[in-house]
Every structure is written in structure tokens, then in C-alpha cells.
């Protein structure tokens, strides 16, 4: 309709996902028109993303399930008011992040991060494919990574999870966190450095 504004450097990166944006726009429009399947489609498009975000930021499957429910209830209530200033993905990540933050703000930092190891990861041990030694080692690495994440300053944890687990671009992370690109770069680096030291036993 109107002439499209030329993208700046940040928008250019966000526009890389233009195909995804079309699908998102369609979902929002269908929801506005009252199509009850739209919300279900939206849930299936984004629920694994939010569940895994919460699992890694908060640490337990219970938290991940609770956060996922709260996030999608909020999305359901506010989707009509969603404005396409940001992408749907960014908006849902922001809601997810806020719910995670309010959860770990209520809790003291983990004094014994290894205690959460029993919370997940029993099932993969039953996978017969790799040998028992490889499995034990993978499981030990996973436990150390989870412990390192849990013991890390949350601003670094958020940046590293969004970048290395969720695979977001720097510009997307800047949008989700509401900080500048330079801050994103610095937080990712510091989170990775903490992780490296923890895994190398430094």
C-alpha cells in the first residue's frame, strides 16, 4: 500500500525472516477474524521455542511447563493488540523472557546447581544407540553445562541461551532484550567465557 521504508542495518537482518513474517501475519489476521484454529497453529509454531527457552533459563521442566502456559495465555489475550512494529517471534520471546525473569527473581541464586540434574535427562539414557561410556560422558557434559548456566549471572545466561541455543541473530537479541548491539555482543562473549572456564575447570 504505502511505499516501504528502506531497511536500516538492524531491520535488514530482521527482514531475512520475511517468509516467516508472512506466516506470522497470516496467523494474527486469522485470529483477529475469529478463526479458532489460528491460536492452535500459533501455539504449535512457537511453543517448543518458549518451552526450551524457559527450560534453559529457569532450569526445570516444571518451570518450563508453567512458563509456557502463562506465555500463551498472555499471547491469547493480547494478540488482537499486537502491532507489527516487532516480529511476532520477538514479541513472544519478550513475553517469555519476562515470565522467566519474574520466576528467577523470586528465587535465590542456586547455591547447589548440580541439584537440578535429576530434573531431566533420565530418558536419553535409555537411548541404545551410543555406547554406555559415550553416553555417560555426554550426560556428564550436559550436567556441567546446566550447572554452568545455572551459576551464571542471568544477563549473561539470557544472551548465551538466545544466541547459542535459540539461534537468534544479534539484532533479534537486541530487540528481545531491549539493549544495544554492543551490549548484546559483550553479554554473549562474557557468558561464553564463563561457560568455557566452567567446562575447562578453571
Amino acid at each position: 500500500m504505502e511505499g516501504r521504508r528502506l531497511p536500516g542495518p538492524v531491520e535488514a537482518i530482521l527482514l531475512e525472516t520475511a517468509g516467516a513474517a508472512d506466516v506470522d501475519y497470516d496467523l494474527v489476521e486469522r485470529h483477529r477474524r475469529g478463526d479458532p484454529r489460528a491460536f492452535e497453529d500459533l501455539y504449535h509454531r512457537f511453543s517448543a521455542m518458549i518451552y526450551n527457552l524457559a527450560l534453559r533459563l529457569c532450569g526445570s521442566p516444571e518451570d518450563a511447563a508453567d512458563v509456557t502456559q502463562e506465555v500463551f495465555l498472555r499471547v491469547y489475550r493480547h494478540l488482537d493488540g499486537f502491532r507489527a512494529r516487532s516480529s511476532l517471534k520477538t514479541w513472544i520471546y519478550q513475553i517469555g523472557l519476562n515470565h522467566c525473569r519474574s520466576r528467577y527473581a523470586r528465587r535465590p541464586p542456586p547455591a547447589r546447581p548440580l541439584a537440578e540434574d535429576g530434573a531431566e535427562g533420565v530418558a536419553p539414557l535409555r537411548d541404545p544407540a551410543p555406547g554406555p561410556e559415550a553416553l555417560a560422558q555426554a550426560s556428564e557434559t550436559a550436567a556441567r553445562v546446566r550447572a554452568a548456566l545455572a551459576g551464571m549471572d542471568e544477563t549473561f545466561r539470557e544472551a548465551v541461551v538466545l544466541r547459542d541455543l535459540e539461534g537468534l541473530e544479534y539484532a533479534e537479541i537486541a530487540a528481545v532484550l531491549g539493549v544495544r548491539l554492543g551490549t548484546v555482543r559483550s553479554r554473549i562473549a562474557r557468558g561464553r567465557e564463563r561457560l568455557r572456564q566452567a567446562l575447562e575447570g578453571a
Binding site: 477474524r33 475469529g34 479458532p36 491460536f39 492452535e40 501455539y43 504449535h44 511453543s47 517448543a48 518451552y51 526450551n52 527450560l55 534453559r56 521442566p61 518450563a64 511447563a65 509456557t68 502456559q69 500463551f72 495465555l73 491469547y76 489475550r77 493480547h78 494478540l79 488482537d80 493488540g81 499486537f82 531431566e120 535427562g121 536419553p124 555426554a138 557434559t141 550436559a142 556441567r144 553445562v145 546446566r146 548456566l149 548465551v160 544466541r163 547459542d164 541455543l165 544479534y170 555482543r185 559483550s186 554473549i188 562473549a189 562474557r190 561464553r192 567465557e193 561457560l195 568455557r196 567446562l199 575447562e200
Partner: protein
């Protein structure tokens, strides 16, 4: 030892290098430094390995029953359209018949037009 006068690369530079976030000039500087500095090369390898370990964590599917619970709870709350002028008209949407809400909006639009 003192053969390389250039200071060690900052972690932030190494991390950004891994993500392809450096300019061509910065990248060139990093790569030539790495060739002569085992310390920085080792730290870079450590960062790479830390990322790989992180990414080896399982990606977990949310429990299948979660959606039913979300839908059940969603049916009990009204969608809110962020305070737009038509927001209050949409209140019948809190009742299961969403068609009612659409009709209310349609009726209002018709009433406004005529």
C-alpha cells in the same frame, strides 16, 4: 615470547569473530594474530568447544497435554485488544461463542455507517 608485541585478543573480539560479526579489517587482524599466538588460539578453541557443549543439550518437546490446558484456561479469559477504541465491544468474546463478538462488532460498524 616478546616476539609478538600485539596485545592478546579480547574475549569479546574472539566471540564476535566466531559469529562473523567483525568487519573484514578486524577479521584480518584477528586471523593474523591467531597464527602467531597459541594463547589466543587456545582460548578461541575453548570458546568453540563451550558453544558446542551448550548446543549438545537436548532440545525438548513440550508435554503434549500442555496445549489442552492452555486452551481450557484461554476459554476462561477474555482476549484484550490493548485498549483500542473497539476493545470494550469485544467483551462478549469472554463467552464461548466467539461468533457473538464478531456480530457485535459488525453490528456496531453497521450502526456507525448508517
Amino acid at each position: 615470547m616478546s616476539r609478538a608485541p600485539a596485545p592478546h585478543l579480547e574475549t569479546e573480539i574472539l566471540s564476535a569473530y566466531l559469529d562473523g560479526q567483525l568487519s573484514a579489517a578486524e577479521r584480518g587482524r584477528v586471523e593474523s594474530h591467531l597464527q602467531g599466538c597459541a594463547d589466543c588460539a587456545r582460548r578461541l578453541a575453548g570458546l568453540r568447544s563451550a558453544i558446542a557443549s551448550l548446543q549438545s543439550l537436548d532440545r525438548v518437546e513440550p508435554p503434549a497435554e500442555l496445549f489442552a490446558e492452555v486452551r481450557r484456561r484461554a476459554a476462561q479469559v477474555a482476549p484484550e485488544s490493548a485498549g483500542g477504541p473497539l476493545a470494550w465491544i469485544a467483551w462478549p468474546a469472554r463467552h464461548p461463542g466467539f461468533a457473538g463478538a464478531s456480530l457485535a462488532v459488525l453490528a456496531t460498524v453497521v450502526a456507525l455507517v448508517y
